[in-house]
Subunit: 523 residues, 2 copies
Amino acid sequence: MHIAGEMVIGRSLVTGREGSLKAIDPSRKTEIEPAFGLAGKAELERACALAQAAFDPYRATDLARRAAFLEAIAGRIMDLGPALIERAMLETGLPQARLEGERGRTCNQLRLFAKVVRDGRWQGATLDAALPQRSPPRADLRMRRIGLGPVAVFGASNFPLAFSVAGGDTASALAAGCPVIIKAHSAHLGTSELVAKAVARAAAECDMPEGVFSMLIGAGQTIGQDLVTHPVIKAVGFTGSRQGGLALVRSAAARAEPIPVYAEMSSINPVFLLEGALANPALAQGFADSLTMGAGQFCTNPGLLLAIDGPALQGFVDAATAALGAKSAATMLTPGIHGAYLAGVQALAADGDVRLLAQGADAGAPCAAQAFLYGTDAQSFLANPVLHAEIFGPSSLLVRCRDAAEMLAVAEHLEGQLTATVHATGADRAQAAALLPVLERKAGRILFNGFPTGVEVSHAMVHGGPFPSTSDSRSSSVGAAAIERFLRPVCYQDVPADLLPEALSDANPQGLARIVDGELVPG
Amino acid sequence: MHIAGEMVIGRSLVTGREGSLKAIDPSRKTEIEPAFGLAGKAELERACALAQAAFDPYRATDLARRAAFLEAIAGRIMDLGPALIERAMLETGLPQARLEGERGRTCNQLRLFAKVVRDGRWQGATLDAALPQRSPPRADLRMRRIGLGPVAVFGASNFPLAFSVAGGDTASALAAGCPVIIKAHSAHLGTSELVAKAVARAAAECDMPEGVFSMLIGAGQTIGQDLVTHPVIKAVGFTGSRQGGLALVRSAAARAEPIPVYAEMSSINPVFLLEGALANPALAQGFADSLTMGAGQFCTNPGLLLAIDGPALQGFVDAATAALGAKSAATMLTPGIHGAYLAGVQALAADGDVRLLAQGADAGAPCAAQAFLYGTDAQSFLANPVLHAEIFGPSSLLVRCRDAAEMLAVAEHLEGQLTATVHATGADRAQAAALLPVLERKAGRILFNGFPTGVEVSHAMVHGGPFPSTSDSRSSSVGAAAIERFLRPVCYQDVPADLLPEALSDANPQGLARIVDGELVPG
């Protein structure tokens, strides 16, 4: 399948003229053809003007057509066949099975949001009947939620399909009725072009307004910042580093009209190994598998273990030494990510209060990451904020606590997290119960007797959490709830029946469950 | 009823020692006894420490107890009897009937949120069953929403009861399970003390954790900013000026951990008078009544009229001249608000493109506001951002448009608004239909053939809107939806049954309607 180095701006394929960029094969540290032209102001303005023009007609599409559009995107992605997987493998160093799985997840996300759109519950239809006899009379009041407006999406490095051009942010924004302009991640430009053209084909086939989707290629510091500060853009979805996310948050807050930014940034995902659970012989293997999955390049990677010191913990460390020792090094996504990983683990190794407990096989190939488990004690951890920072990759830190009270104190001092995990048996119940309210305040997802990697795309999933794991703890970027991020409520007071939106009409043609005078009325 | 000049910090009554302040009777411009001591850092730290300690036990209270607490607050406010109304009249210049009505609204808000709490729908309980046979297996996933943490509330000048100490922000935050620290508005200090003590009595009577509620007295630039930047505070509710709101937004964004600010700031609430409706003889009277209600001191005051020029419009202006001419001047809330109103209308009067169309009776008494209707044309309005700014008080600007297209262009250039109103008959349908999508993008509430003042406290109400009418268009500060502002989702993955929160347990003892595997299951 031909990759031309192009952007997609509405129905046009455009080659940028503000310099060019090539993707890099991280397993060889070599450039991959072709060169991609970078967007300038003109391309940005064109994409924004089209998105603005598309907003009203796109949000007016009926639920069935909007859902069909999302499903068509999934179909056109599958049509790309092996060419998409091959290009993504080349650009990311990720293995075929992982990328095929991720493609499946990407299409399932689009289909989940199609179902969500059809269901219509996201509109939050709420009706309060007029009370003309009351003193004072009450007007007829009806509320629904509509899209915020055009959304800027920033593709993630570590999910070239599921959190990139047609990933979760794009799917949920389109589901909410918001046009999307995505800035492609420079690490997988060819993958992005293929997927963007698939989205554009789906949009044309479903007769969507032209500006419903555009993809720009350019540097984050220029075109990315310009996009976030453009008056047409009304919300931002981002997955990446804390530094990158905070830069977007600051830019969005400094606008004449500030806008919401949903930045999913960094998390060390504490795993509490309670005493009863330490006896589980499978625990260390489960940890090693989770730590090294995808070369540790998941936002839910278990970067922190906490346990009470003693013989049971030593048993776990011995088993982890064996399990990690059997793990080979795996290619990381980009030379930049690999360099940052090396710097992170070298700094940890050099810390006087930290010592190496276990490691994976040595890294031979370019950009390959060796796994590490380091150890420290609770007082050193509490005293040193550097030890709380995410090291993106297969490295984890075990914090030895003197007792349950010290473990609780460490939990209370953690920053906001995407996940918090407890390994516990019935014998650990009291300690688990004491941890739970603290973890509710610290994390978006609490899991027991598992590992945090592997984020289900479903209705009850929360992939979000208190700052700095995300910039907005009120939301999830994975699962059906992600649509909520791009909606706002509008109330219609005494609006004539023939001007009311379908979701609020007396006839309820969408068959919605609605809140009527405060009571839930099934559809 | 004795007013001591005290703050309420948890269960203690405290006299601040950082200077003092007296309330002012605006109808006489005289100080009212007693002096109120102002809070320093020690009082702030004490209130924050208590709120933090109260958060976990308070959010763990069962729904019935939390609802009973809200109802007890309403009861203890009613117990204050005429003393509350008398003090509020003295401090605000508002008439008895208005304040009695506002007290009723305040208590109804508390009772509405008690109902919302008991109903439990706000928890958003969502369950995805485990799929152990699937490859890969799906874990058991359950999601509910919990409170964000302690909330700082800033009382509004113009609703000394309904948007102050025990007003909508406080009621919705308490309903969400969040302790509240309110900074009393300096314009109604005695009213605030009375109500704060009523809240404290209700908290003690319902055996709530001590820090669930505190009220501080102090200057916005000092204690207000310190409150918003305190690490314990996790969200802010504010109603007031754009300047004041933006200062809080900036402070909250600059924190090490940024937090959401719900600032309801300013709105000119455009009213579109379409041609068919201009013939309605009651239109001008309705407008004059709405404009002058409460001396024009409502955030939904109709500060902007838009109509197509012609004889029908002249008829409206003539009728408005008569209706406004019969309106006497009314006392404004504070000398500061009155001074700002005078400055605003003087600036308007001095603008070369603006002329006076109609006015109310002259103001004699101190702080009394005369009503004004000014006029300009669409091109002048579009060219002059000053004409888009809110003048808080009974002044409105009529913008004459050449035709429907020009009216639509003006609508498209408006800033975000709390409300947008259309007066239309069947003959105006096409024009109303063309305006509607624009108004959906511009306003939180769209109303037909009425006036925007008078905000119903119900389930379908939206009192919110795009920036700068509020700092966060995704929310409402009035009505049942206001609780959403203070919640965040938490996912529980494979959490043992005996540790699951009630809302998510298999037995569903709260009888909640829940989302189960994506389908709504009534309770």
